[in-house]
């Protein structure tokens, strides 16, 4: 069994740790350089290793280290881990590259060395987590990730808001960790060791449900799922831009990894209702996330809410997979799994890109509020173009990557016709409707994000601002390239996911469901009817057959109940689009040749001049959404005052509304007040009388003895 991939991953981790130490020893500016080099090379090593695993299969587990109390720490590469490592590395490389010059504006006020150190530690843990093969090592690295990311979020610690956000993040993360750890321990409760690679023990129904709920909501904290995501909209906006990109592009995925690891690999789901929980939580996270994103005017906060939305979509697809697993339909389960992982990977690419774009805007223009930005395309044309790629991707506009995975997600939901229970079908239909609304709102949201930030009149933008530095642009460009490639080559991506899911579904299930062997005409045995093959050949669907993938069309066939074929190919779409656009451009050029083009200022109804304050603001643009969904936002009116001079001259109308995030309102705030009142009850015990304290001690001792005696 080949183990070079494992060695390589361990080497990447080691490199990061060395980098962390080196950073501490160097000057501020050099630290950022070291960070970039370390980050890029470590992530590249990890990427190579992960690719190797996906191509060559898993290694066996190896005991790295045996600790006296915690037991042996096992490591080993798995295809599933490699798939996630691949996605993470694709974010780490460009983000590290971007960081080279990005940290310069912090140098005066905060320590870049400390930042670089924590960054390297985060990277090391983030890479290493995917090769952990037992509960203990998993949680050591999991905690490292949690602490390192909290430290990075709190980087600008002089602002009270940042420190508090990091605290909330850490607190919720710890609570999630406890739940997840409990779930993992329960999952291994019948086994002789805490290693992952052992067969699943037989579990009672309550135990199975406990494992599912604890792991889903425990890991869900990291994945930003409703209702345990209060920390996310607080932490993302205030973290440094590159950290937001890392958190949103790579760290949230750890939550998904945990959920998949426990519920698909270690203890496969047994009940369709478990899948329904995932579906409902996923779909409502998606809808609520995008609603808050749409009305948000802070660029980074908007992206944060949008992360909730995207992870919600991915989880909805995984929910489909869970349901089909429980219903023993592995083929459709594979579609759901592929859609979920695909969407998660896409989200990593475009969200990291958008966060880096937002960070560039923040640094260059000094504001993240879309109400104050505007017209930025004139000073940041490259950033604008790259941000546009991200916006188009996230809005699921073909041929960019968001489209492929959202298409698959909807297709997976439509497979509900293969389910017998009516209730399940209804849940699928409702979730499908919620996702459809989500998709529409996402378009609104990112039209607003791009339009309000880059287009229109310059509200406060200084025309003297210069474009971002080369490494920053390169970092974003790499991510934009990923967005395009993930979008136009879905069959290759699905092949990778197929390998990653091999341990769960068996090698080839995803491909069989989505990229049928039909596109390899020589495949034997070919399960498709020959006339079917002939029809599709006539349509030219085999064109990609000679390529190293399995053709360029994603196709899924309905089951016996629904003998329909759904197919799409963003690859062909891109080619045709390019040809058509070129043709249109050529025709227009030909028809209008020799014609004078008149450039005149926009028609403003004769108003001269049109001031920037007379153009739509971001708040105004999304206000219809706010009005329509008022019942969900349920804003509190903090201020509504009318001031007048001499009774009739209105001098000011002051209005202010505050939107409290639904998760805060529904879960965190009641929980906090419950804890506070419980604490105040307990506080009554602390009245300072020595006799009472002695009595408490004795009482506790008696109870403990009683328990010991009885068991």
């Amino acid at each position: 069994m080949n183990q070079w991939e494992l060695t390589l991953t361990l080497a990447a981790m080691g490199l990061c740790l060395v980098g962390a130490l080196v950073c501490l020893a160097l000057s501020e500016r050099a630290a950022a350089r070291v960070l970039a080099v370390t980050g890029c090379s470590a992530a590249a090593l990890s990427l190579v290793a992960a690719a190797g695993v996906l191509a060559g299969g898993a290694s066996g587990d190896r005991i790295l280290w045996s600790l006296p109390v915690l037991g042996p720490l096992a490591v080993g590469t798995t295809p599933l881990g490699a798939l996630f490592a691949c996605v993470a590395s694709l974010v780490y490389v460009p983000t590290s590259l971007y960081t080279t010059r990005y940290m310069e504006h912090y140098e005066r006020e905060y320590s870049v060395r400390a930042f670089s150190c924590w960054y390297c530690v985060l990277l090391a843990a983030g890479i290493g987590l995917f090769i952990c093969r037992d509960v203990m090592s998993f949680f050591i690295l999991w905690e490292t990730v949690a602490i390192a990311s909290a430290a990075l979020v709190a980087y600008e610690w002089r602002h009270l808001r940042n420190a508090r956000a990091a605290f909330v993040m850490l607190a919720m993360s710890e609570a999630g960790t406890v739940a997840a750890m409990l779930a993992l321990l329960l999952a291994r409760s019948g086994s002789e060791s805490l290693r992952f690679g052992l067969p699943a023990p037989a579990l009672t129904t309550p135990l199975a449900w406990s494992i599912f709920l604890l792991s889903f909501f425990g890991f869900g904290v990291k994945a930003g799922l409703l209702p345990v995501n209060s920390w996310l909209p607080r932490a993302y906006p205030i973290a440094p831009g590159n950290v937001s990109a890392l958190l949103s592009g790579a760290i949230v995925n750890l939550g998904v990894y945990g959920i998949v690891l426990v519920n698909m690999e270690l203890v496969p789901v047994r009940f369709a209702s478990e899948g329904v929980v995932v579906l409902i939580v996923g779909a409502s996270s998606a809808l609520i996330g995008i609603l808050y994103a749409t009305i948000e005017d802070d660029l980074k906060a908007m992206l944060a809410y949008s992360s909730i939305e995207n992870l919600g979509i991915a989880l909805t697809a995984l929910g489909v997979a869970f349901v089909f697993v429980a219903e023993h339909q592995p083929l459709f389960a594979a579609i759901g799994f592929a859609a979920g992982i695909y969407h998660m990977a896409n989200h990593s690419a475009y969200k990291a890109l958008l966060f880096l774009g937002a960070a560039t805007i923040d640094v260059k223009l000094g504001s993240r509020s879309m109400n104050r930005l505007g017209g930025a395309i004139r000073v940041l044309p490259v950033t604008a173009a790259l941000f546009l790629v991200g916006a188009l991707s996230i809005a699921a506009i073909p041929p960019f990557n968001g489209f492929a995975s959202e298409w698959l997600t909807f297709q997976a939901l439509l497979r509900s016709v293969e389910l017998a229970p009516l209730g399940l079908r209804e849940v699928f239909a409702l979730c499908g409707a919620a996702l459809a609304l989500t998709a529409a709102l996402a378009v609104t949201c990112f039209v607003k994000a791009f339009g309000m930030t880059f287009l229109g009149t310059m509200r406060t933008v200084q025309p003297t601002v210069s474009e971002a530095s080369a490494t920053m642009k390169l970092g974003m460009a790499l991510l934009a390239l990923e967005c395009v490639l993930l979008g136009i080559l879905p069959t290759y991506v699905l092949a990778a996911i197929d390998h990653g899911g091999a341990a769960i579904f068996g090698l080839g299930t995803v491909n069989q469901a989505l990229v049928p062997p039909f596109f390899e005409p020589n495949a034997r045995p070919n399960p498709l009817p020959s006339d079917f093959v002939a029809t599709f050949h006539a349509l030219g669907a085999q064109i990609g057959a000679g390529l190293p993938g399995r053709g360029l069309v994603v196709m899924l066939r309905g089951g016996a109940a629904n003998p329909v074929v759904f197919a799409m190919s963003t690859t062909y779409f891109t080619l045709i689009l390019a040809v058509l656009l070129g043709l249109v451009y050529g025709i227009v050029r030909f028809v209008t040749r020799g014609r004078r083009v008149l450039r005149v200022p926009p028609w403003t109804g004769g108003l001269q001049p049109l001031l920037a304050e007379m153009t739509y603001t971001a708040t105004g643009f999304s206000n219809p959404v706010r009005v329509i969904f008022d019942a969900i936002f349920n804003p509190t009116e903090v201020e509504n005052e009318r001031e007048t001079i001499h009774e009739h001259f209105r001098s000011a109308i002051r209005r202010k509304r505050e939107d409290v995030f639904l998760a805060d309102r529904a879960v965190s705030a009641p929980l906090a007040s419950a804890v506070r009142s419980a604490a105040s009850l307990l506080a009554r015990m602390h009245h300072g009388r020595l006799a009472a304290y002695v009595a408490y001690t004795l009482g506790t001792l008696l109870v403990a003895l009683a328990i010991v005696t009885l068991t």
Binding site: D297, N371, T604, G605, G606, L607, Q608, L610, L611, E613, M614, T615, Y616, T617, A618, T619, G620, F621, S622, N623, P624, V627, I645, H646, E647, H648, F649, R650, S651, A652, I653, R654, R655, K656
Partner: protein
């Protein structure tokens, strides 16, 4: 119930130092600037309304004349306040009488008189982004356009809404398909408009300045064309003012015929307003039918007066010429024949719930606001203020014609529509009555020129038109002051537009029935 004499007694006893005089039904006095606010407060408390404010600058002297009229009985009061022609400062009465707000802003812009304690001066008639401060267009030393100092300056709308993401949505000055030029500044955070402020006077033609030095007959052309859609309404008020100044008695036949044309004009104007309301709600069939009715009325007017808008009907001292009784009958019959169709249109509109949904509960002006801002015409009557110059300060033939003033209480778009229909029906009746009792005799008294000044008023289709003239020895106009109804009603525009949905804007605007030309002069 107080009367004119009671008020005069009160004025005399409160301000002993002032020489109060009463001539016919008009109180006049020169009062010192410092007791102006108190006198205004006193008159306001007795339900007297501000008619007009006239500033006159003769270079060496500067005076401002405040004309008030009683709200429930015939009676006028003219208070003259002298100002120092160098310092050019007067106390503002706006804090005690909000209705004086725009008058003072206009005078500040045109005469460079500063009103202390007025909170909103500047950018009014002369736009700040085009003109230098203190151009004082109406001052005698400004004679030609070369005397006006143009200066490109920064101008920003006054913003009141303080909310995250608030912005000003500009509409105009050139907007819609065939709307008059005016700029509207809508303060909003999207969807709901919190407040809308008009920026008018893009069409300012300086009619009052143009009138100076012209003959009284030529200025009549300006009065008629101040607002072409109410030529009789404004032209007649000018004739009344000149006739008072020249001490002319108008023959009874002329007075009756003037009222006849004024009522025909009112009918036509109100049908136009109904048409605009229908068009604003995109009710195309109703708008087309109202357009057709309007065209028929224009043709009736054209057939009887040879001009579709009654230009060239009026003359100082009476009418340009007499009219054939048969032609008048034909006109009255024609209008009467259309009244059936107008009723059908009214009933159809009142039975269209989709139409009513769009005009009910929009642009609401309650009675208190209508009284405080002293709104006039159908606008005020829809808010429960029974202000109609024909009945409270009767003139010409109206003293002998009995009619009730229709009012509505709601003050919303629908109430204003109902008022329009009620007044159309009522005007048709007045037309009939006038023709039935049409006196014989001449239609014009030849005026003899003399120096003097006079105040004239009418109830124009949009409300009270109040004008003041000062005539020189040779019959030239020395000062012409034109206070058309739209100038008063635009002042209440922001009251009707505090808080509405953006898509209702054209409907609110149409139901308010405001003319930009009439305001801009």
């Amino acid at each position: 119930m107080t009367t004119l004499t009671d008020v005069l007694q009160g004025l005399r006893s409160n301000w002993l130092a002032v020489a109060w005089s009463l001539e016919q039904d008009s109180i006049a006095a020169s009062i010192p600037a410092e007791c102006l606010s108190d006198v205004v407060t006193y008159l306001h408390a007795h339900e007297w309304r501000l008619g007009t404010v006239v500033a006159t600058d003769r270079g060496t002297s500067l005076e401002v004349r405040y004309a008030f009229y009683a709200g429930r009985y015939p009676g006028w009061a003219q208070l003259v306040v002298a100002a120092d022609p160098v310092a050019r400062v007067l106390p503002s009465i706006t804090p005690v009488l909000i209705a004086a707000d725009w008058f003072e802003r206009e005078i500040e812009d045109l005469f460079s008189i500063r009103f202390t304690q007025h909170p909103r001066l500047g950018d009014f008639v002369l736009h700040d982004n085009q003109w230098a401060e203190n151009n004082g267009l109406m001052r005698p030393n400004v004679r030609s356009s070369a005397d006006m100092e143009e200066q490109r300056r920064a101008w920003r709308p006054r913003r009141v809404l303080k909310e995250e993401g608030a912005f000003v949505m500009p509409i105009g000055p050139i907007y819609s398909a065939d709307a008059e030029s005016a700029l509207f500044l809508l303060e909003t955070v999207g969807e709901d408009v919190v407040r809308a402020i008009p920026r008018l006077f893009y069409k300012y033609r300086a009619i009052e300045k143009l009138a100076e030095g012209r003959s009284v007959r030529d200025v009549l052309l300006l009065a008629e064309r101040c607002s072409g859609t109410s030529a009789i309404g404004n032209g007649l008020a000018y004739c009344h003012a000149v006739e008072r100044a020249l001490l002319i008695d108008v023959p009874p036949r002329a007075a009756a015929l003037r009222a006849f044309f004024a009522e025909l004009e009112r009918i036509r104007h109100h049908v136009t307003s109904v048409r605009e309301i229908c068009a604003s709600t995109s009710l195309a069939v109703a708008a087309s039918q109202a357009l057709w009715l309007e065209e028929q009325l224009l043709r009736i007017c054209g057939a009887v007066a040879e001009h579709r808008y009654f230009f060239g009907v009026l003359d100082i001292g009476g009418l340009m010429h007499d009219y054939d009784p048969a032609a008048l009958e034909v006109a009255a019959d024609g209008a009467g024949a259309l009244s059936g169709r107008i009723r059908i249109l009214r009933d159809a509109l009142q039975n269209s719930s989709s139409f009513l949904d769009r005009i009910e509960q929009i642009g609401i002006v309650d009675e208190h606001a209508a009284r405080t801002f002293e709104l006039v015409g159908p606008f005020a009557r829809a808010s429960g203020v029974s202000a109609d110059m024909r009945s409270i300060q009767p003139y010409g033939a109206y003293a002998s014609v009995a009619f009730a003033v229709p009012t509505e209480a709601e003050g919303d778009g629908y109430a204003r529509l109902r008022i329009l229909f009620a007044e159309i029906a009522q005007s048709l009746q007045i037309v009939r009555t006038l023709l039935r009792e049409l006196p014989a005799g001449p239609v014009r008294t030849e005026p003899t020129m003399r120096a003097g000044f006079g105040l004239g008023w009418t109830e124009a289709p949009r409300g009270a038109s109040i004008q003041w003239v000062q005539v020189g020895e040779e019959g030239t106009i020395l000062r012409y002051r034109l206070t058309p109804p739209s100038f008063r009603n635009w002042h209440g525009f922001h009251v009707a537009t505090e808080g509405f949905a953006f898509q209702d804007f054209p409907i609110v605007l149409a139901t308010l029935d405001l003319s930009v030309a009439e305001n801009d002069r």
